[in-house]
């Protein structure tokens, strides 16, 4: 080894470049698409209107506010969206309808999710016989067209909101069950589950403390998509006259009762149909967005 060390020579041109040249790199930015922003705003607006409906300066949904079959016109709030066959305000009916449609969709969705998650956890964790039985039930439910299933239920019990919620919840269960089962299987093979078992944890504890918290976020991300589907299902049932009994308005019911006058007063269908469409669309958009954000767990 020679004594001392000599600095490596840098060519002049290199030395010069060195002072300035480091790469300029742009950072990836996460931008919400305009559609997603619109969707969240729309959902927030609908929920807000549904909640504060009683204190809004609008007529009650079952009260006549003027001549029947008025076309939408600006100026007066109650006739902003027109009136129906008996002169009730469509604006009011759409807003109160939101209460029913959203509550039915959300309650049914949540109950379906809860039931589906429990079944899915059990099937995915215990496998074997448990899995076989639960998967069979889910497959049977799924192979029934949802509408036929609901028709059957509402045909046996007379239509009412609780019956509708129960029916829709049953319809939503298998989807969540499958999701929960697949997620549970993936998480169960993780080593922290093995570690917990090796600590002497019971299966109940493992399911509740270790697996459930990891499964819930990805299921929650599917929630809006399922609620949207259930709102549509409720609409279809109402259209067939098996939905929420009148005079309580629901979006499906509004469309159904407007349909008779479709030729003369198309707005009676278009107004609730547009609101229904926008809401379902927004829920789907928002759901997709959430799913991208939160259903990543399995990959990372």
């Amino acid at each position: 080894m020679t004594a001392g060390a000599i600095p490596r020579e840098l060519g002049v041109e290199n030395a010069e470049r060195m002072a300035v040249a480091t790469p300029q790199v742009s950072l990836p930015r996460k931008r919400l698409s305009i559609l997603v922003v619109f969707s969240y705003v729309w959902i927030a607006l609908i929920v807000l209107l549904a909640v504060v409906a009683p204190i809004l300066p609008i007529a009650a949904y079952d009260q006549s506010v003027g001549a029947p079959r008025q076309a939408p016109k600006f100026g007066e709030l109650n006739t902003l969206l027109g009136t129906d066959q008996v002169g009730r305000s469509l604006l009011s009916r759409v807003i109160y309808g939101a209460q029913v449609s959203l509550v039915v969709g959300a309650v049914a969705g949540l109950s379906g999710a809860a039931l589906g998650t429990v079944l899915g956890l059990l099937a995915g964790y215990f496998r074997k016989g448990t899995d076989w039985v639960i998967t069979l039930i889910a497959d049977v439910l799924l192979s029934f067209p949802v509408l036929v299933l609901l028709l059957a239920i509402t045909a046996i019990f007379s239509p009412s909101i609780p019956v509708l919620v129960v029916g829709l919840a049953i319809a939503g269960t298998p989807t969540f069950m499958r999701l929960a089962r697949a997620n549970t299987m993936a998480w169960t093979s993780r080593e922290f589950v093995r570690a917990a078992r090796n600590m002497g944890a019971s299966s109940t504890r493992i399911l509740i403390r270790e697996i459930l918290p990891n499964v819930v976020p990805s299921l929650a991300a599917y929630m809006p998509l399922v609620i949207a589907a259930l709102i549509v299902a409720e609409g279809s049932l109402s259209f067939l006259g098996l939905g929420v009994p009148p005079p309580t308005p629901s979006w499906g019911g509004l469309i159904s009762s407007g349909a008779v006058d479709l030729r003369t007063a198309p707005y009676m269908v278009f107004v609730p149909a547009t609101v229904l469409f926008l809401t379902v669309f927004a829920l789907n958009q928002g759901g997709e967005h959430l799913r991208h954000r939160f259903d990543r767990n399995l990959q990372d």
Partner: protein, 326 residues
Amino acid sequence: MAGSGSAHLRGDAAVLSVENLEVEYHTAGGSFKAVAGVSFDLLPGETLGIVGESGCGKSTTGRAVLRLDPIANGHVRFRDETIETASHQRMRELRRDMQMIFQDPVSSLNPRRLVKDIITEGLAIGGQGAKERAAVVPELLEQVGLPPERFAEMSPRQLSGGQAQRVAIGRALAVRPGLLICDEPVSALDVSVQAQILNLLEDLKSKYDLTIVFIAHDLGVVRSFSDKVLVMYLGKTCEFGDSVEVYERPAHPYTRGLLDSVPSPEVEGGFVGPALQGDLPSPLNPPSGCRFRARCPMSQDKCAVDEPAMREVRPGQYAACHFPLV
């Protein structure tokens, strides 16, 4: 003697004794024995290194000892308990005395829980209240070298691999086990962090009088950490003995080949001996006789017919080979 023999077992003095252990997996391609007659034992306070190439059944052996994988055949004795027949209830109690640390530190921590909850999980399962647990968190974190103020409230996603492995070690030691099975505890870590974890384990081992089964594929790591070493090949045992002696004078041709495959830049060509030829055979369809025979430079006719059993080749050193290197 169907398996590779158990002549190297040391009898009642052992804390853990595994005899002719077999573990079977059922896959789409058929059933096979991932562990096919493995025996080993540990004296109190001893560290046994298990080495071998990927798929030879090291992890499966470790898990089967804790009955995390079902034991198909053989006997596992821990202290006075027979593991393969213990009731579920008894097993849950026993496992607290036999803890395991896993290869992938990140996957062995629940991403949805905080470090302080993870590290006291064993205590919670043991029935300790929230107050008592909160009180021991600082001590538990400190003993694995993590400042409690900073780490207690963190989530596993925020930890580096080395930090995550420290938490996993802390969790295992919180229940004061007598036996610790470490399944490749440093393989996923950077070289510069690996030494931190190895030193930590070494410290904790003497502090708590641990008996350790140390699974690894890195021969250098095993050498520095273990008293005894067990070499495995395709679900079988090849050689057992004092780690220094086995490394210095391997008796089994496979051990020799493994050691010769360790890069040693000091010598010309980078390796001290010739390379082993051939590929690892499929465990679904292992060779008859000696499972190593297709790759063994010493192989003879007898090797295809008779399966060799473990026998003493030098005092305290055992090899399962018809023609050991002596």
